[in-house]
């Protein structure tokens, strides 16, 4: 018996002030249960992923008034958490340890009148010790570390800033069709090139948004999901990959990610290859993350990601529609729940103007740390073993 996603709950996202991360999480769970057509009291599992700006913990169950839960835990694999949570929920449902599990992410790092760039700022007031010395010299932000990764890929394979820009542009083209995307103004490669450096070689338009908000999904048994309010979205495969890059001779940092492990695992479980995948919803904290993930899943050869993303494959009308809601670059930054939520909307056929016709096989990625942690889900409107899935 398979597991399926039966409900999706999304709060307002972006500059949403006045609600704590806990409150946002509770709101998203209520919305997800209502979306599924379930009463809150029918939930018997709750998995929680917190962000950086606030930390709903297991007390969220009390906030929601949930009683007699059989599964309750906070999970953390950074940006890979959403995929890991949904896989855990599917396993719980399949083992019988729980029957209806809500998985929720919430964060509220933005404050009024403070820039998004300052939301995650952890610059210390003084610098101490060896780590303080490197921080003082510029190793202060995730931006810096992803810039080092991008530069390594560029030097090794000839990947260009314009090719990274192609990722940003195709993602914005999709965002323009998504009413809830935060960034919907037109964007050209020239706009990308003209945007200020964050940490060179990353321009501002290579970097994701910062958003307040919450997203929750309900996972239940496939046969039960079939009787609920929304079209079931079947969870056909999952995998994790944590390469454990050591910073020493031989390190693949910046060149490959854990997607090389999680992708094949998830595809094998689903009985598919990348040739069967019709659409990707990828964790795009930076444009380089999208490019690396596509290479590591095998949609193109290693080192050819730049050409692949510049070919137009990812955008509307392309051969591999990717991040069709605008992703984290232009849509909303709900960690791994950004790609998960868009995959659910597309699998249900509820994406409106941006709906992709071929939606039977959707690959979803999560990425955490500095390309350290990865999760993959294979989602489909069709149940495992059914004959409706077809190649790309």
């Amino acid at each position: 018996m398979g597991a399926a996603i039966a409900g999706l709950g999304m709060t307002e996202m972006g500059k949403v002030y006045g609600r704590s991360a806990r409150r946002l999480a509770a709101d998203a769970v209520r919305l997800a249960a209502a979306d599924a057509g379930l009463a809150l009291e029918e939930l018997d599992g709750l998995l929680i992923s917190h962000g950086m700006g606030g930390s709903p913990g297991i007390e969220l169950a009390d906030v929601l008034g949930l009683r007699d839960l059989r599964l309750l835990t906070v999970m953390n694999a950074f940006g890979a958490t959403a995929g890991a949570m949904i896989a855990s929920a599917a396993m719980a449902v399949q083992s019988g340890s729980a029957s209806a599990v809500a998985c929720v992410f919430a964060d509220a790092p933005l404050r009024p009148k403070v820039s998004a760039g300052a939301a995650y700022d952890s610059t210390p007031r003084e610098f101490r010790g060896y780590g303080g010395m490197t921080a003082a010299q510029g190793f202060r932000s995730v931006n810096a570390l992803y810039a080092l990764a991008a530069q390594r890929h560029m030097a090794e394979y000839g990947t260009t800033s314009e090719q990274l820009g192609a990722v940003a542009v195709s993602t914005r083209e999709w965002a323009r069709l998504n009413p809830i995307a935060q960034m919907r103004d037109p964007m050209t490669t020239a706009d990308h090139q003209a945007s200020r450096w964050v940490v060179e070689p990353l321009h501002l338009l290579d970097c994701c948004l910062v958003s307040n908000g919450a997203v929750a999904v309900i996972v239940t048994a496939a046969d039960r999901a079939a009787d609920l309010a929304q079209p079931a979205v079947h969870i056909l495969g999952w995998g994790q990959g944590h390469p454990g890059n050591r910073y020493e001779r031989g390190s693949d940092f910046g060149l490959t990610t854990g997607a090389t492990i999680s992708g094949p695992a998830a595809l094998k479980m689903a009985g598919m290859t990348v040739a069967d995948i019709q659409m990707c919803q990828l964790y795009d904290c930076y444009t380089i993350t999208t490019l690396l993930t596509l290479e590591d899943y095998g949609f193109c050869a290693k080192g050819e990601g730049g050409e692949f993303v510049a070919s137009g494959a990812l955008g509307p009308g392309g051969a591999l529609p990717t991040n069709t809601g605008g992703g984290q670059l232009s849509g909303y930054y709900m960690w791994g729940m950004t790609p998960v939520s868009e995959a659910i909307i597309q699998a249900r056929g509820q994406a409106g103007e941006r709906q992709v016709a071929r939606n039977e096989t959707i690959l979803v990625s999560g990425n955490g740390g500095i390309l350290d942690h990865h999760s993959t889900l294979i989602l489909s409107p069709a149940q495992a073993g059914s004959s409706t899935t077809t190649g790309r």
Partner: protein, 125 residues
């Protein structure tokens, strides 16, 4: 630009003692002699917990780099991962390396601010 002021933390004082003498020290496993970065607390090769501060050659090659642009006034700074001849990578600041390229030969050096501890930088060898 005024260099940042670094204070000791008790855990890496040996690094700054050596830096004061113009020497780069990193960690080395007392059991298997594997080299490790200054932040290492144990040896991932043999499982040993005894790491000793040991003088390194200071020779390195450039792995990757990025340019941190200040939001206000000031100069852009190159940061990098460098690979020491002994094997470990360091989070590093580049000094006077205007045209970085992968594999560029580098040498450790120290900048001595008026206040606080010396700063490790890498310059073209």
């Amino acid at each position: 630009m005024t260099p940042p002021t670094i204070r000791r933390d008790g855990r890496s004082d040996a690094f700054f003692d050596a830096a004061g003498r113009g020497e780069l020290v990193i960690k080395r496993c007392a059991d298997c002699a594997a080299w490790h970065a200054p932040e290492a607390s144990g040896c991932h090769l043999c499982g040993g917990a005894a790491l000793e501060w040991t003088r390194a050659s200071g020779d390195a090659v450039l792995i990757t780099w990025a340019k941190v642009h200040p939001r206000g006034e000031g100069d852009a700074l190159h940061i990098a991962f460098v690979e020491l001849a002994e094997g470990p990578w360091l989070h590093a600041a580049l000094d006077g390396v205007d045209d970085p390229s992968a594999g560029l030969a580098l040498k450790a050096a120290f900048v001595r601010p008026d206040d606080g501890e010396p700063l490790l930088v890498f310059r073209t060898a």
